[in-house]
Amino acid sequence: MWPDRRIIDLFKIEFPILLAPMAGAIDAELAIAVAQGGGLPSVPCALLAPEKAREQVNIVRQRVSAPINLNFFCHKAVEADPAREAIWRQRLAPYYRELGLDPAAPINSANRAPFNAAFCEVVEELKPEVVSFHFGLPDQNLLKRVKATGAIVMSSATIVREAIWLEEHGADVIIAQGAEAGGHRAMFLTDNIAEQPGTFALVPQVVDAVKVPVIAAGGIADGRGIAAAFALGAAGVQVGSAYLRCPESKVSALIRAALALASDDSTVITNVMTGRPARAVVNRAMREMGPVCPDAPAFPHSAAALAPLKLAAEKLGKVDFTSLWAGQAVRLGREMPAAEVTRALAGGALARMGKLAN
């Protein structure tokens, strides 16, 4: 028996396990599998155009009758700064030459659009049961429109101050994202990576600070971690890395191989790949220029000049410039169908809690 059913009842799901919306790594296929396993499916829209997001949701809806979480980034978009771009391109020039690329060739701009009116129309049309945001919340007008659809609004906090802010600004559920989590740090009221608390220090402090249900995220990838998160007062968990190597994930064979080799101390928080702090398995770019590099242009512009390098290196079978987003629990990732992973996580947690209750 789950000690706390608030998330189960609110989302109307079988298990209080949320699929982390890992942009670029997952699509409808993995979401469907997690839904079939009893968890909450998430569709990450950060890298999608609105029409693609619509298509993904429709695929999920055709296959399962589960609630859906649509996830968006809501950073403040900043224009690329030509001076910083020039410094960055100069910094990357030796790599361009090494891979036989022209360092001066034009590059495409980075493609991470924040939540906007076009995305909001998609939400209004598709009415997902849950809408989650990363990097705070969108402006009040857009948020009001999202709430008017009846969607439960969720966002992530990395410190207590952010959790209080989110609750005050309308979040219905708060994800406490600890330092262990893979991918982008949700931080939006702080930029100090050194002060980011670990999941198990953060969760009870957020639980004490807000009235809305709290979901624990970061480093949780097995039943005992879930049971522990509930003991700390979480009403649910968000799981990412455990699903990365499932057959339904769209992580490439090359990245899968790199993730399979990763161990517990292979990941660091870096700003090199996109300009914003994010946890990933160390690659060559991070090792040689970071993990934190003052020259990396602001989010998401760092990624633009890295893109040609990523493509060229991957052709040679190398992940030197590929973002290997993963959390500290990357080694717990399993190569089994995501529905089975979900059921194993839930079963493991319930068994653990039951055993200690006796």
């Binding site: 000690p3 608390p197 220090a201 101390d265």
Partner: protein, 331 residues
């Protein structure tokens, strides 16, 4: 009611709660208070001030419950004779942290004393098991004071798996209440070691103003680094760094450590003066990420009682949606 685990059986104690050997401030008063409340207090011998060690171990002869004595291993290696003073006080266990425990093992074991080793990586856990550790403490980076980089959620189950039931594993780092104890038992640990929570207790020999700073701090206000060690000219071996409350001194020197070393005499003098003046904007308060869970300075015995009461409620399943909703409504 006691929470019985393999740890409590091994140490002969009632509650699986250990107080950390915080250098110089976990004195005999705190150790006795924790141990007599059913937990296990550990004396913080720190950098080996012989007079202090003699004085505090002498006081512990009056302690009616089992207790431990803790050393910084690399520091003890410079003054191995301190171990004899410690063993003469008849502790139930010696706790060694930060360094190779092997050179001290046979002396500890011959005296019939248990060996507790604190570790931060699997490699260190293996080393400690090989050396004959009776109990392992898996310490996450959330911990206050010295530690390394892996988080509690990551290192605790890893060490539990490695120990494979041969020795009890205690969790440390970022824990301060019954939820933390229950959570760590879910992860497979058989107890917790708490530093910051006991720092803010009446019996801790720390400055009252420092204790108040801990009560006032929230999560996201601690930093792990080398600023205070450099300032005090205490040069720790890798991979150990120190977590403290983020104060003006941390903000001023983090990222400028080389410059700090270049100006060491001036900075040390300023630091010593601030410490004497109890100015904790500069003087360090070595606390962990659990600071946000700590709001008062009770007796150590009350801390032990609160933690066990809360943990028991969670472990037995008596804390659920209904009680959580009531707790939220009461706020």
């Amino acid at each position: 009611m006691p929470i019985e685990t393999t740890l409590t059986a091994r140490l002969g104690i009632q509650q699986p709660i250990l107080s950390a050997p915080m250098a110089g401030i976990a004195g005999a008063r705190l150790v006795a208070a924790v141990s007599e409340a059913g937990g296990f207090g550990i004396l913080g011998c720190g950098y080996g001030d012989r007079t202090w060690v003699e004085q505090e171990t002498a006081k512990l002869r009056a302690c009616r419950a089992p207790f431990g004595i803790g050393f910084i291993t690399w520091s003890l290696a410079k003054q191995p004779e301190l171990l004899d003073i410690a063993l003469a006080a008849k502790p139930r266990a010696i706790m060694l942290s930060f360094g190779d425990p092997k050179p001290f093992c046979s002396r500890i074991k011959r005296s019939g004393t248990l060996l507790i080793c604190q570790v931060q990586t699997e490699e260190m856990a293996k080393e400690a098991l090989d050396a004959g550790a009776d109990i392992l403490i898996a310490q996450g980076t959330e911990a206050g004071g010295h530690g390394a980089s892996r988080t509690t959620l990551d290192i605790v189950p890893a060490v539990v798996d490695l120990a494979a039931g041969r020795v009890p594993v205690v969790a440390a780092g970022g824990l301060a209440d019954g939820r933390g104890l229950a959570a760590m038992m879910m992860l497979g640990a058989s107890g917790v070691l708490l530093g910051t929570r006991f720092y803010a207790s009446i019996e801790c020999d720390a400055d009252d103003e420092a204790k108040q700073r801990i009560c006032a701090a929230t999560s996201g206000t601690t930093t792990r680094g080398v600023v205070f060690d450099f300032t005090r000219s205490i040069f720790w071996p890798a991979p150990f760094t120190l977590r403290s409350l983020t104060n003006d001194h941390v903000r001023r020197w983090t990222g400028r450590e080389v410059e700090l070393i270049q100006n060491l005499s001036a900075v040390s003098a300023e630091y010593a003066a601030a410490k004497a003046a109890r100015n904790f904007d500069i003087a360090g308060v070595f606390a962990g990420e659990a600071v946000g869970l700590i709001h008062d300075v009770p007796h150590a015995a009350e801390i032990v009682d609160r933690i066990t009461g809360e943990a028991e409620q969670i472990l037995s399943g008596r804390r659920n949606s209904t009680t959580m909703a009531q707790a939220v409504a009461a706020r």
